[in-house]
Symmetry: C2
DNA sequence: CGCTGTTTTGATAATATTCAATCTACGTGG
DNA sequence: CCACGTAGATTGAATATTATCAAAACAGCG
């Protein structure tokens, strides 16, 4: 049973929660936060563990507090496409739906702030601010999915890699409440295979393109899980997007 | 000015509206429908006309009553990816957002049931059933976008074509409140170029694959805008999906 | 220190794109 | 009503990009 309450990993109180301002509860008032706080519980999953399989029953919804998870879809013959990358503050699960539509996997150690599905649906119905924030987040996710469709449908391998790195830069900056710029250091939680699944490429192609970008000085890998981007603007340049593109989550 | 009220094209009354049961207003009660009816207005656009350009101000939201529209995104160098296909009952526009994120184009003559954005936001806030239905529809759209990502990221040209045709079969059936099966006749409102933009292919590749499917007897084109699918199950078979895949809108 | 899983690199093959030339259907005007 | 013009569709040949198969290098860990 991988599920444990882990108060030491997440905050005991929502007051000190680092992701509150971006999460589904962001717009709730004090009274509403009390009700959420009473219903919430934490779950942790070690890196590599599957949270739920597509088709399985999923009786909870939740928010990523720390760590990274992926949503993936797989064809019978094994071809896999990532369809969602869940970073801290992202929401997972769908109200009213019992069967999980996608496989959710923890790619790093993961802490989720969870609610049982039924009580959460009740809270949604009783708390317009919660429902409205969930709609807003879902619309943002839809925008992100559509940006991703442009990457998958029309960009070259090189542009796809640059796009992914630029997205990670933006998310990193957003968490610090900043805008990305100049020299940046980003955490890269994904293996080459996970990157390939994200970008609709093979892991060999990802590896080759990463090598090419490194040799051109566009990225500077620091060990296995971290990368320095010497010039964010240059990365965006080769990603194919115009600079004034949508923030994409 | 392409915009005209067109009561003759849509129903005068919501009572007789053919798409009510699938639209954003589907779960509203009689009182709520009265308020919606008072605020609504129809707009029509001829085939080929741009409804709004990405980046333009968009002061309304709406529902497709009849016809087909597309959402597209374009890179500077002209590469275009369709990111949404709006069929009758689909919703367009985003509450709280003024700038359109995508270019919306009428691909056939189009009738929209519209609301000015501000009043609609007020209705959303005052009508939980409306907000809840919009959330549900947005989550469905997100599912569709993710299915589409699998198509764009991992499927061959042949599988992509079959997937698109299967999706159109499902939508056609859904409008009739049926499930797709056996021999079906579907309306194909898209040009080869629009299909290519949907599928992340070139129009030549689309044409070649359509020819191949025709020669194999999997499809039977009837003129330019209609296709007979002799065996829906066979189409799903070569689309790469397993039969029990999500309904995808 | 030697495993094991990940990543890189190489050679070859498959698939879709590009560029170019017809061909076809459909609406327009004679 | 039919010929014509045009936009859309098809087909062909050459090319480019990415996938596939295979092997070697590397990193982390017991």
């Amino acid at each position: 049973m991988p599920v444990t309450t882990a108060p030491q990993s997440g905050p005991l109180s929502c007051d000190s929660c680092r992701i509150h301002n971006r999460a589904v509860c962001a717009h709730c008032n004090a009274d509403e936060m009390v009700r959420l706080e009473q219903a919430k519980f934490y779950r942790t999953f070690p890196a590599g563990q599957v949270v739920v399989c597509a088709g399985d029953e999923m009786d909870f919804v939740g928010t990523v507090v720390t760590g990274v998870a992926t949503l993936t879809q797989t064809l019978e013959d094994g071809r896999t496409q990532m369809v969602g990358l869940l970073l801290p503050s992202d929401f997972l699960g769908r109200p009213r739906r019992i069967e999980a539509a996608y496989t959710i996997t923890a790619v790093t150690d993961l802490v989720l702030c969870c609610f049982r599905r039924k009580p959460f649906e009740k809270l949604l119905a009783d708390t317009p601010r919660l429902a409205s924030r969930l709609l807003e987040m879902t619309l943002d996710e839809l925008d992100a999915a559509r940006e991703w469709m442009l990457i998958l449908g029309r960009k070259s391998a090189r542009e796809r890699i640059a796009s992914l790195l630029a997205i990670l830069c933006r998310r990193e900056a957003a968490l610090m409440r900043e805008t990305p710029s100049g020299r940046m250091s980003i955490h890269l939680p994904l293996t080459r295979e996970a990157m390939a699944d994200y970008l609709g490429l093979t892991l060999e192609t990802v590896s080759r393109q990463m090598t090419a970008l490194r040799k051109e000085g566009l990225i500077d890998p620091q060990g296995r899980r971290s990368i320095i981007v010497p010039d964010y603007a240059q990365l965006v340049e080769i990603s194919g997007d115009d600079m004034d593109g949508a923030p994409l989550v």
